[in-house]
């Protein structure tokens, strides 16, 4: 059943909802990347919570004028207006008072959300309110979503992606080096406005599926997870889009199978699973690879230092060094080097001497930058360069082994 949902085989409506959610997830991951780069992730939390009064007021207004209060475009317009007010309040408090942005976010977020909850209670007491479903905006719900709703969400996601594509360069430059960006003719205020409008747009179209409390997770978790996979901003953006899309796709599919589950939490938990896997296992910056690299490096340093000590006839006190030298067959338990150890030790000593000379030479700066205490100079310099170093050192050209 779940597999059928994943591969869009649960009927037309469920398929459309899953498709819309996936596009939303991609748009959220991509847009959120820039928010993450700009270090303004929490602003999205203020924006999303500020949508609630708008949703409730839009419902009240639509019912008062005799329309269906659950009309999605109407509710989204209401939420966009109140989100814009919330965003404006954060910007105004930050630029015109001495409040820092985090304090402004806290104030705006709680006031708007509190006001929204009050309005929701009002909606629930309204006699004419066919209010069932408004709570769905808190945690997200795909149940009872209409064909037109799914189209609206998918279209909004696609539009957000196009706009990110157009404005990616100024947004990137403003994030990396605002002063240089400004001097390059980029209007920082306008760039930030565009970025925040995109975040607002994604938030608003994501309200129905993910819910306003959790939409921030879909904006932030994918880029943070993607950061473990790459050191290049353009790739982080693409990976974040892919991870966001994947989370939303899986979450929406699960929700199609079990309509009673709130969609938002499932999507967010999926995203969290992806984040955890990325943090642990990503090949570029994951914790596991970092731990392995650290351990390998530590062993290398111990062996190298042990060999240097052996070559210079110094005693070795570090138990780990002795253990490693023994394990490698380079020394006996009492610290006396084996013939193999003697040979390796003299080679290491020669390598040290060559490095010392190379690092003092400005012409070899690039090679010197690769010095980490372990890398053999043969791996960095050409034979000719090493011969030239040896000539300067004045030692024997080849060490007999």
């Amino acid at each position: 059943m779940f597999l059928e949902a994943l591969f869009f085989q649960l009927g037309y409506n469920a398929t459309l909802v899953t498709f819309g959610a996936t596009l939303l997830g991609i748009a959220a991951g991509v847009t959120g990347s820039f928010l993450f780069f700009r270090k303004r992730a929490l602003v999205s939390d203020a924006i999303s919570h500020a949508t609630l009064p708008g949703v409730a007021l839009a419902f009240i207004v639509m019912v008062a004028f005799g329309f269906d209060g659950r009309n999605l475009p109407g509710l989204l317009i209401g939420s966009a207006i109140s989100a814009a007010l919330g965003l404006f309040a954060v910007q105004w408090l930050t630029s015109r008072t001495r409040l820092t942005e985090d304090a402004a976010i806290g104030a705006v977020l709680s006031v708007f959300f509190g006001f929204g909850i009050v309005l929701l209670t009002v909606v629930q007491t309204m006699s004419s309110g066919r209010q069932a479903g408004l709570e769905g905006f808190l945690l997200g719900s795909t149940a009872g979503m209409l064909y037109a709703d799914a189209i609206l969400i998918a279209g909004g996601g696609a539009l957000a992606l196009i706009l990110v594509g157009v404005f990616r360069r100024p947004m990137m430059m403003a994030s990396f080096d605002p002063e240089f960006a400004r001097a390059s003719g980029i209007n920082l205020d306008r760039t930030d406005l565009i970025m925040m409008s995109l975040v607002m747009g994604v938030t608003v179209i994501g309200l129905k599926i993910v819910g306003l409390i959790l939409i921030v997770a879909l904006l932030i978790i994918p880029p943070v997870a993607a950061r473990f996979w790459s050191d290049r901003a353009d790739r982080v953006v693409l990976i974040a889009g892919a991870l966001g899309g994947l989370s939303a796709w899986i979450g929406a599919s699960a929700s199609a199978v079990a309509p009673n589950l709130p969609t938002g939490p499932i999507i967010v938990l999926t995203a969290f699973g992806i984040f955890t896997a990325s943090m642990l296992f990503a090949p570029a910056r994951g914790l596991l690879i970092s731990a392995i690299n650290h351990r390998t490096f530590q062993r290398g340093v111990h062996i190298r230092q042990g060999l240097v000590s052996l070559a210079q006839g110094q005693p070795i006190y570090e138990p780990m060094t002795i253990r490693l030298l023994r394990a490698e067959g380079l020394a006996r338990a009492d610290g006396v080097p084996t013939p193999d150890g003697v040979a390796r030790a003299s080679r290491v000593l020669r390598d040290e001497k060559r490095w010392e000379t190379a690092r003092a030479d400005p012409a070899l700066e690039m090679a010197a930058a690769r010095y980490d205490g372990l890398t053999q100079i043969e791996d960095v310099l050409t034979k000719d360069q090493i011969d030239e170093l040896d000539a300067r050192i004045g030692g024997p050209r080849e060490v007999t082994q």
Binding site: F167, P170, F176, D177, A183, S184, R227, D231, A233, A369
Partner: protein, 266 residues
């Protein structure tokens, strides 16, 4: 008589502005109520290297930033060869202080240099092979080609500063404004940077740098602008970089150091 003299002054001023790649008139910048830069006039000479010198808080960086529109000044105008600076921004390259950047940002050295081409590519223009070659040649001028695909945070402070300079070179500007290019870099990098700046000068470009190390001012620069909120003096190093002017800028604290250059260098 007076009328004629006034006309002469007006004409001379117009000519000054037309010939100067960077002229500031009546620039005042203030954070809250306290002015950081007060009513400063500067006329930078074309094709020369000018140092902006003054104590901490003298408004050196503020002067550059407000001239570039990064900070909004209270008043004043800035011109480039007589035209408003806002219209001529593509002829200016700016090297901000290293501290203004997030070094953990996921960006490679070559990507940073390519950011210097934003004015050329704009929003949607594609980066061509020629652009990449140009960026690499800029890295070559600062001796950083081998580092092109490193993440920027993996570099040393001096190497980062050279990458910033390469990004400015990529802009191919007439006027180079640098904010403390030698702050926190080692002697080798300082030599490399000054070599590049001097080569810019020999190409006829104008270089203006905020500078802290008084002992190297006469070696590195042609002109000097002494600043302490107000302008103290500007002109050729030989005639302007005097004990008297330095005393005025630093409040007399530096005359001792000037007498013994070794003390400054140490």
């Amino acid at each position: 008589m007076l009328q004629i003299a006034n006309e002469d002054i007006v004409r001379a001023e117009a000519q000054n502005l037309r010939e100067s790649p960077f002229a500031i008139r009546g620039l005042t910048v203030s954070y809250d109520q306290k002015p950081a830069v007060f009513s400063v006039d500067v006329t930078i000479e074309p094709g020369k290297m000018t140092a902006i010198v003054g104590p901490n808080g003298a408004g050196k960086s503020t002067l550059l930033k407000s001239a570039l529109g990064i900070i909004k000044p209270l008043s004043g105008q800035v011109t480039l060869y007589g035209r408003p600076v806002a219209d001529e921004m593509d002829r200016i390259a700016y090297v901000p202080q290293r501290a203004s950047v997030d070094w953990d940002f996921p960006v490679r050295v070559i990507d940073v240099v390519l950011m210097g081409l934003f004015r050329k590519t704009g929003l949607l223009g594609r980066l061509t092979g020629a652009d990449r070659k140009h960026a690499m040649s800029c890295l070559e001028r600062v001796g950083m080609t081998d580092f092109a695909s490193r993440q920027i945070g993996q570099l040393s402070g001096g190497q980062q500063q050279r990458v910033f300079l390469a990004r400015a070179l990529a802009q191919n500007a007439d006027l180079y404004l640098l904010d403390e290019p030698f702050a926190g870099v080692d002697a080798a990098t300082e030599k490399a940077i000054i070599g590049v700046l001097k080569s810019l000068r020999s190409e006829g470009r104008t270089v203006v740098a905020v500078h802290h190390d008084l002992s190297t001012v006469p070696d590195y620069f042609d002109n000097v602008l002494l600043l302490n909120v107000r302008k103290i003096a500007e002109g050729p190093v030989a005639t302007t970089f005097t004990d008297e002017n330095l005393g005025a800028a630093y409040g007399g604290r530096l005359t001792m150091a000037r007498i013994d250059p070794a003390a400054v260098a140490g």
